[in-house]
C-alpha cells in the first residue's frame, strides 16, 4: 500500500507520517515543496525507514509534479494548504494546488482520498448557538464575507465534492478544529485578537474547539489506512476548556498576558464599527473584524465529534496533557514525552528512540 502525503513537512504533516508508520503503512511518499525543510523526512528516508519512506520534491501547482507524485499511489492524504500570505497565494497554494492534484488523480489508480479541511467551512452565522454543530450543518454560503483562509478551504472542499461526482473515488473529509501542539502559536484566533502582549478576548464561557496535532494526525492515519468509512468528520478533542479557562491557564503556565474580556454583544458592536471604518476609508483600514465573521467565529458554537469517535477514533493525548505540554513546550522533550505517554504502537523495524529525534528536529526548526 502506497500513501501519498501532501504537506508532509508541515505542522500536521510530520506527525501524520509518524502515525502512518506506526499503523504499518508499507510505503509513504512525502511530497515536499522545493523550499520546504524536508531534512527530517530525508533523514527518515535515508535511515531507519529507507524502505518505507520516500521524499518527492514538487509543487502541486505544477500538473507535471502532481502527476509524478500521484503515480502508483493507492491513497492520498491531502494536507497541503496555505495558512497565511496574500489572498492570491493562499488560493494558489490551497485551491489551485488541489485542482491540479484532483486532475492527476483522475488519470491514476488512486482509490482513496483523505482531505484535511477545516471547521471553518461551516456556515454558522445564522445557526443557533445551542445547536450542536455536526457534519450535517450546511457549508458556508458567503465565503467572500469570511477571511481568505476560510474561503479557500471551502472552495477546496467544494472542488473535492465536484470531483466525487465525476470519479469513483473513496473520499474522507476531515474537518479539524484549531490545531495546537509543540511549535504552534498558543493564542489562536478563536480566543480573540492578540498582539504586543495584549489579548482582546472574545467570549468567556464557551468551549474552545481544539484538536491536538497528534489526535488529528491519528484521524488522518485512520482515514488513510481505510479504517474510516467515506464521508465528512469533525475532528475535535474531548474535555475542551472554555475560553476563560484557556486564557487563565495561559497566564499561569506561559507568562504574563494582559487581556480585555469582550462579551459577544460588545464584539458585534466593535465589529460593526470596524466594518464601517473599512468601508468609509475605501478599504484602507483592513477588514480585521466584521459582524458576520464575529457571529461565525466567536458566538460559542459547540462541535460534535461523535461520528468520528463511533468510527473508532480515540484521543492519543488528553486535552489536559496536550495543553500542559503545549504551554510548557520547549521542543524536543515534549515530543518525545508525547510519544511515550500516548502508548503509540511502534513499527517493528525501528525503536521509538530512533524515530523521536528525527521529528524532534523537525519541531525545533519551527521554534
Amino acid at each position: 500500500m502506497t500513501v501519498l502525503v501532501t504537506g508532509s513537512t508541515g505542522f500536521l504533516g510530520t506527525v501524520v507520517v509518524e502515525r502512518l508508520l506506526a499503523r504499518g503503512v508499507t510505503t509513504i511518499r512525502c511530497l515536499a515543496r522545493p523550499s520546504s525543510n524536508a531534512a527530517p523526512l530525508r533523514a527518515l528516508a535515508s535511515g531507519p525507514y529507507a524502505d518505507r519512506v520516500q521524499v518527492t520534491v514538487g509543487n502541486l501547482q505544477s500538473a507535471r509534479d502532481a502527476e509524478r507524485a500521484v503515480a502508483g499511489a493507492d491513497t492520498i492524504c491531502h494536507l497541503a494548504a496555505a495558512m497565511r500570505g496574500s489572498p492570491s497565494s493562499v488560493f494558489l497554494d490551497t485551491v489551485v494546488a488541489t485542482s491540479r492534484l484532483l486532475d492527476a488523480v483522475a488519470s491514476s489508480a488512486v482509490r482513496r482520498l483523505v482531505l484535511v479541511s477545516s471547521l471553518s467551512v461551516y456556515g454558522l452565522a445564522d445557526v443557533p448557538v445551542d445547536r450542536l454543530v455536526d457534519e450535517g450543518i450546511g457549508l458556508e454560503t458567503h465565503p467572500e464575507w469570511r477571511d481568505v483562509y476560510s474561503h479557500a478551504k471551502l472552495r477546496q472542499e467544494l472542488l473535492v465534492h465536484e470531483h466525487i461526482a465525476r470519479a469513483a473515488l473513496e473520499v474522507v473529509i476531515l474537518r479539524p478544529a484549531t490545531l495546537y501542539g509543540c511549535g504552534r502559536p498558543l493564542l489562536p484566533a478563536r480566543v480573540g485578537l492578540s498582539g504586543c502582549g495584549w489579548l482582546l478576548q472574545f467570549g468567556a464561557s464557551h468551549m474552545l474547539p481544539l484538536s491536538h496535532v497528534s489526535n488529528c494526525a491519528e484521524a488522518v492515519a485512520l482515514a488513510g489506512t481505510g479504517a474510516l468509512p467515506t464521508g465528512a468528520y469533525n475532528v475535535v478533542d474531548d474535555d475542551l476548556p472554555t475560553v476563560d479557562e484557556y486564557v487563565r491557564r495561559y497566564k499561569r503556565e506561559v507568562g504574563h498576558l494582559r487581556s480585555i474580556r469582550c462579551p459577544f454583544f460588545a464584539a458585534m458592536l466593535l465589529s460593526g464599527a470596524a466594518e464601517r471604518l473599512h468601508v468609509s476609508s475605501k478599504g484602507r483600514f483592513p477588514r480585521v473584524l466584521t459582524p458576520y465573521r464575529t457571529a461565525t467565529l466567536w458566538r460559542g458554537h459547540r462541535f460534535d465529534n461523535r461520528k468520528l469517535r463511533q468510527a473508532g477514533w480515540t484521543q492519543l493525548i488528553s486535552t489536559r496533557d496536550g495543553l500542559a505540554r503545549a504551554f510548557d513546550d520547549r521542543g524536543v522533550r515534549h515530543h518525545v514525552a508525547l510519544r511515550r505517554d500516548a502508548h503509540v504502537p511502534e513499527p517493528t523495524a525501528t525503536s521509538p528512540a530512533e524515530l523521536a529525534p528525527v521529528f524532534s528536529a523537525a519541531v525545533s526548526t519551527r521554534q
Partner: protein, 330 residues
C-alpha cells in the same frame, strides 16, 4: 466590470471577493463579451505586450502594471500601437504620484530646490513579505524567469523617480552584488543592485537592497539651493537648507529645524490618515483617477510616453551590463 485569469479558480475568487459579477479565463472571450472601455493588466511582465496589444486592438484603453514590457523595443512597439489606434496607455507608476512626490515636483517647478545636482533613489525590499515569500517558495515563479530576476520587477519604482531629472542618454553603470553572508538559495534573484547614472552636470544613484534594515523607500534630491529628503514609508518631505547662523548655532538650528519639519509632516499625515488618504497606495489611486480623467476629457495621459520609454531604455542598459562593462543608453 469583469475579471480574467487564465486559471478559472483564481478569476472566480477575485470576482467573489470583490463583488464582481463576471469572470473569464480567456481574455479574448472577455474582450468579445464585455467590450470594456479600459483594461488593467496585472499579469506577469512577459504577457504584458501580447495582452495589451490585444486589448488596444479591441479598442480598449490600457493600464499596464510595471514594467511595461520586458525591453525598450517591446515598449516602443506597444506605445506605437496605442498611438496608431488612438487609445490611451499608462503604466502603474504609483509612487511617482505619491502625495510627497507630487509636492516635490510642484516645489521644484516653483524653484524651491534650485537646479537639481544629484538624486539618490533607495528601495528596500523584504523577501520575507507576502510577495517575496511566494517568490522564494516557488522555484518556478515567473520572477525567476525575468531577464533581471527580482530586480527587473522592481527597478521601475527606482528609475521612474530619477529618470525625470536625467537626459535621454545618461551614462549607466550597474553592479549587482551578493553579500558574503547571503546563503539564501534565492540570492541569484539580484536582490542587491546599484546603478549610477551620469549626465553632463547631473548624477543619480539607485539602490535596490533586500538586506538593509529597516526596509526603506527614500528619494533624496540635492539642489543648488536646498536638498529634499523624501521618505515614502513615512510619507514625509524634510528640507535641508544652508545654515542661516554661524558655527555651532547654525548646526544646532539645522537639527531643530528638522525636528519642527518632522512635527509638521507628522501632523499633516495624521490629517491624511483621518481623511483615509495615508496609504502606501495613495499614489496609485491618484494615478488611476488621473488616467480615467485623461480618457474622459481626452487630455494627455498622466505618465508621458517619453518618460516610460526613457525608463525602459535605462532598464535595458542596466540589465545588459550586469557582469559586463558600463555603457551609454542607445
Amino acid at each position: 466590470m469583469a475579471v480574467c485569469d487564465r486559471e478559472p479558480l483564481m478569476a472566480e475568487q477575485l470576482a467573489l471577493r470583490h463583488g464582481i459579477g463576471k469572470w473569464f479565463s480567456d481574455v479574448d472571450a472577455m474582450l468579445d463579451a464585455e467590450r470594456p472601455d479600459i483594461v488593467h493588466i496585472a499579469t506577469p511582465p512577459p504577457s504584458h505586450l501580447p495582452l495589451a496589444t490585444r486589448a488596444i486592438c479591441a479598442g480598449c484603453h490600457v493600464f499596464v502594471e510595471k514594467p511595461l514590457t520586458l525591453c525598450h523595443a517591446d515598449s516602443q512597439q506597444l506605445v506605437a500601437s496605442a498611438i496608431v489606434r488612438n487609445r490611451k496607455l499608462t503604466i502603474g507608476y504609483g509612487f511617482y504620484f505619491d502625495p510627497i512626490a507630487r509636492t516635490l515636483r510642484r516645489l521644484i517647478a516653483e524653484g524651491a530646490l534650485g537646479e537639481p545636482v544629484h538624486i539618490e533613489s533607495v528601495l528596500g525590499y523584504a523577501l520575507s513579505g507576502p510577495f517575496g515569500s511566494c517568490v522564494l517558495a516557488d522555484d518556478d515563479h515567473w520572477v525567476h524567469r525575468l531577464p533581471g530576476k527580482l530586480a527587473h520587477n522592481l527597478i521601475d519604482h527606482l528609475l521612474n523617480k530619477v529618470a525625470e531629472f536625467m537626459s535621454d542618454r545618461p551614462t549607466v553603470q550597474a553592479r549587482a552584488c551578493r553579500r558574503a553572508d547571503d546563503t539564501h538559495p534565492a540570492s541569484h534573484l539580484l536582490n542587491e543592485l546599484r546603478v549610477m547614472l551620469f549626465d553632463q552636470d547631473r548624477s543619480a544613484y539607485v539602490t535596490l537592497t533586500s538586506h538593509a534594515r529597516p526596509v526603506a523607500h527614500l528619494l533624496t534630491v540635492y539642489g543648488t539651493k536646498r536638498t529634499a529628503r523624501l521618505d515614502f514609508e513615512a510619507g514625509t518631505i524634510i528640507w535641508s537648507s544652508p545654515a542661516a547662523l554661524p558655527g555651532p548655532l547654525g548646526r544646532l538650528s539645522c537639527i531643530f529645524g528638522d525636528g519642527i519639519q518632522c512635527f509638521r509632516e507628522g501632523t499633516q499625515n495624521v490629517l491624511r490618515c483621518v481623511r483615509g488618504d495615508y496609504h502606501t497606495l495613495s499614489g496609485l489611486n491618484f494615478l488611476i483617477n488621473a488616467f480615467y480623467e485623461s480618457i474622459r476629457n481626452d487630455t494627455p495621459v498622466p505618465v508621458s510616453y517619453h518618460e516610460i520609454l526613457k525608463v525602459a531604455a535605462i532598464s535595458d542598459a542596466v540589465f545588459a551590463q550586469l557582469g559586463t562593462e558600463h555603457s551609454r543608453v542607445a
